[in-house]
Symmetry: C2
Subunit: 228 residues, 2 copies
């Protein structure tokens, strides 16, 4: 029976990759750079997005929000007058714990792809499955907050290995924690050497400028400038 | 295709329930109370266990650790001379994001059920799928740390609804956060009214006595005292 389950999962992954490629072609055609943003629940994905979306220079951003239930995050983004669409994963048997390519595809008609240069997909808060499903993104960024402990890269290696940027968030809390930042970075190097990392605080704004720069640079690196 | 996927998931759940019942029968025969402990990554499951396991009076505890990769948590528990077994979920296609009844069943021979009164199963850090899979437990406890934000009960309703106790951890950090505890409890009441909740700090030990009392009470309530 175990063998049967693995078989099903592999088939699902293949279908996912097929749809992810179709998404990618649509994004390419529209000239939109796509960043898949992942983290544990409560690590600060939405707050870090709120912090950066209005300061991206000429880059026009949109957001796709994935949540098990509710539109709390989408409402926060919409209040910034940024185009946002919402995927609620609860249609599954108790809530899907990740976005897959098909869910993203179903949301594409709700997004004005021709009017944006950058789409950030805020995945469901989870350090395991989101890293297993490509959705058609160019780049993956993940957030680890310093309140989560130094051991996370060792315990969730796929997530830390699959990403192109690691944001270390909530560094304003470091004075109040028994947390060894060097140890986290050491564990990160063990799992994904040389991955770019930014120390940030969504609360104080420290490091947010570098996060904005990374998004702007990612957009210009992966896409030709739009021709009017 | 979507219908097919839902069908597969339901079959898997049924098989899980069958095995969970078999686990439960084994636990009942051995007179062991089982608590399934769940939370986001880094919310403090292991630290809260370390804090309480040695102060349970006459209750002899054991631990089953679920992690995607590594035995870091199991090693921490073992250093307290508490019986511990470890399930590594990485055998799946990138790491299972939850424990299921079959994984727990496979670990039972590694646990001295006749020598313990209480088994705490530390699930994989995740607020979605662990709540969907019964593993044969009597009770479910979940931890939300105050660094995760007040909105989590609304975003992950199944997890908060499925549990018999909510531990609100890291309350020592409240003075350093923009976090409204009343708002969290209000959201919790909206999703699961009257669920018992304990405010704790694994770091300072505040509230840990009440957590120990809950475990001792749960053990005596669900099992007859062992007859020598």
């Amino acid at each position: 029976m175990h063998r049967t389950r693995v078989r099903v999962v592999r088939d699902a992954l293949d279908a996912n990759d097929t749809i992810a490629r179709a998404n990618r072609e649509d994004f390419d055609r529209a000239g939109v750079t796509v960043v898949n943003l992942m983290s544990s629940p409560g690590a600060g994905k939405t707050t870090l997005l709120e912090r950066c979306l209005k300061g991206l220079g000429g880059v026009r951003a949109g957001v796709l929000e994935g949540d098990v239930r509710g539109s709390l995050d989408a409402d926060r983004i919409a209040s910034l007058h940024v185009p946002v669409a919402q995927i609620e994963t609860e249609a599954g048997f108790g809530g899907e714990c990740h976005l897959d390519a098909n869910m993203v595809r179903s949301a594409l008609p709700s997004l004005p792809l021709d009017e944006i240069d950058l789409l950030v997909i805020e995945n469901v808060g989870n350090l395991v499955c989101p890293a297993e499903f490509r959705v058609g993104e160019d780049l993956r960024a993940m957030i680890i907050s310093v309140t989560e402990g130094e051991d996370k890269p060792l315990k969730y290696p796929l997530m830390f290995r699959a990403c192109d940027l690691v944001l270390v968030n909530k560094i304003d809390l470091l004075p109040h924690l028994d947390f060894d930042l060097d140890k986290l970075l050491h564990h990160l190097d063990a799992v994904h050497p040389d991955v770019p990392r930014l120390l940030v605080s969504a609360r104080t704004g420290e490091g947010v400028e570098a996060w904005r720069d990374w998004l702007v640079e990612a957009t210009s690196r992966t896409r030709e400038p739009a021709v009017a």
